[in-house]
Amino acid sequence: MTVDFSLLPEQAQEKIKDLGSADIVVGIASYNNARTINHVVMAVDAGLRKYFPKDRSVIINSDGGSSDGTPELVKNTTIDHRTVFLEHPIYPIHRISTPYHGIPGKGSAFRTIFQMAVLLGAKACCVVDADLRSITPEWIELLLVPVVKEGYDFVAPLYSRHKYDGSITNSIIYPVTRSLYGKRIRQPIGGEFGFSGKLAEFYLSQDVWESNVARYGIDIWMTTEAIAGGFKICQAYLGAKIHDPKDPGRDLRDMFVQVVGSLLTLTEKHYNKWKEIKGTEDIPTFGFKYFVGVEPINVNIEKMIGQFKLGVESLKDVWKDILDEGTIQALAEVSEQKIPDFHLDNRTWVKIIYDYILAFHHKKLSTEHLLKSLIPLYLGRTASFFLEVGDLNNEEAEGVIENLCMEYEKQKDYLVKGW
């Protein structure tokens, strides 16, 4: 495959010409992550030196125009390796920090990383978030070893997360992906992935870089394309995932539209593949699962329910083009419930999501309006889940998510028949 050099910024082109080739590429997409980037680069550097001392490795920071000195920190971060390693790596680990071209977003940053990986001829790559506080050198081993030594093409992350964390993942992305494609990938939009050079080439050959994939839709796109493309996939247990406190710029509405919009587009694209799939199966899991404490999370359930109720009051006219009368009636009844008893059941929720997928397929509304009309329902469902698992431990909460997944699988025929 030929990669157009001109798509890369000049400084990146120069660096690639200097380096010539690399075995391993680790990508870090960043935007104003000065508080955490130091730690992430140190962990990645240490991971490469410790677990891949004989490989030529490059760390690529694809930056979205940070104004807080993130790129400088990537270049200048140092680690005293004498205290960590007995053996020195054969090759020095190069670091490249480059801005990316295209639509501002995580996906465009990843595209630059894919381009550079392909140009360098890397056999294995991985990407990690720049705002991680819990990353360790072992993450690099876990994400890359299945590719380098076991021949896998795609490694999804598996984390210990707080039961309230990852609510879009838990209520929509994971169960829909699992039900449609039959693979139990627990964190399809985890943010950290390992992948082969072959898969990077495949990603790069797709014409999606002007869509939501260029933004937050990149994660679900990478996972789904790896499954649908028949690549060899697995997951690796990385431990706890702890982020830097939330960036206020990461607005829920935009993230929701981008991520769920990508999911719907992929569902449309791969209909012929998922319609035949019955049941689900586990995928190989690497890493040693251990109990890990997670940070407590503050939630404002009252506010979420308030937004759900406002949606029920105001959006009936919009919903009647998407949902049937029975579902709208059920939602009206839920909105009458007071907080301790507030409950949006699995059956109704799954039917809502499948009806939204069908509405997208039948083009009943503009995509943005369709997805924005789902947000109040999502908040209602999330509040209901929080109330349901409030007194449960994380494992028991996982059981509640498992029941939801079973409901998605049970109703899959409804989706296929309604297509």
């Binding site: 939630v299 949606g311 919009v318 083009k363």
Partner: protein, 248 residues
């Protein structure tokens, strides 16, 4: 006496302008019948044109209907709200059928006008010239109304969704206000397009639109200052209640 006078007319050889008495009677009759014959021929031509028009309109209606059904026009109409506009106007047939009927009657009217032109009378000629002069304005006004309505619906829905997702309790009211303002604006544009009392339309629109905006500004500025204060205070208080959920 009278009898004599009449007989004298024949006997004295009184000459009528243009010939004899017989020719004086036959001449106008001949002209009349010639004109009548010409008119009947024109009428027949007009009827033939009209019949051809009905046939062509019918063929084009069927073709349009098939084409619209093939390209999924009805689904698109459902999506953009055209179906609901038609239903509000008590039109119970599918949008594709409605559009094909509009084509049909438009073509029939056009052929009728063409037929009238063939009669070549002053009155029909005036009708024909007025029709063709007014047609482009009429069509563009209809287009402005249809596109404007669709755009106002889209904008109202966007306002509603943005308001609900921002937690504004009066989102519906806001969306309806946006729709109303847009419809007033579009209606004024369509009237101006038709060229009907342009000056009055522009003046009325300016007064109405300006008045509404002024009223809103005064209402927000004076009547709503306490509400605005409460909203701002509420938002500031809510800042402290923000949750830490990572949605992804």
């Amino acid at each position: 006496m009278l009898r004599e006078s009449i007989l004298s007319l024949f006997s004295t050889g009184y000459s009528f302008p243009g010939g004899s008495f017989l020719s004086a009677v036959v001449g106008p009759l001949k002209t009349f019948f010639t004109n009548l014959f010409t008119f009947v021929i024109y009428l027949v031509v007009m009827v033939i044109i009209l019949v051809i028009g009905f046939i062509i309109a019918s063929i084009i209606q069927r073709f349009t209907l098939k084409l619209l059904d093939t390209i999924g026009f009805n689904n698109w109409s459902d999506k953009v709200g055209l179906t609901s506009i038609l239903q509000k106007g008590e039109v119970r047939i599918p949008p594709s059928q409605f559009v094909s009927l509009v084509f049909y009657w438009f073509l029939v009217t056009a052929f009728l006008i063409a037929g009238l032109a063939s009669i070549d009378l002053e009155m029909t000629n005036t009708i024909v010239s007025v029709f063709f002069m007014f047609l482009p304005r009429f069509l563009s006004a209809i287009l402005v109304l249809i596109l404007g309505y669709l755009f106002s619906s889209f904008l109202a829905r966007a306002t509603l969704l943005a308001g609900v997702n921002a937690g504004l309790k009066y989102s519906r009211l806001l969306a309806e206000a946006v729709r109303l303002l847009m419809l007033i604006f579009i209606f004024a544009m369509a009237l101006e397009q038709l060229g009907l009392a342009t000056g009055i339309v522009v003046a009325a629109f300016s007064i109405l639109f300006g008045g509404i905006l002024l009223a809103l500004a005064i209402a927000f500025g004076l009547g709503g200052k306490d509400v605005a204060k409460k909203i701002l205070e509420g938002n500031m208080a809510k800042e402290e209640e923000k949750d830490d959920i990572q949605h992804l």
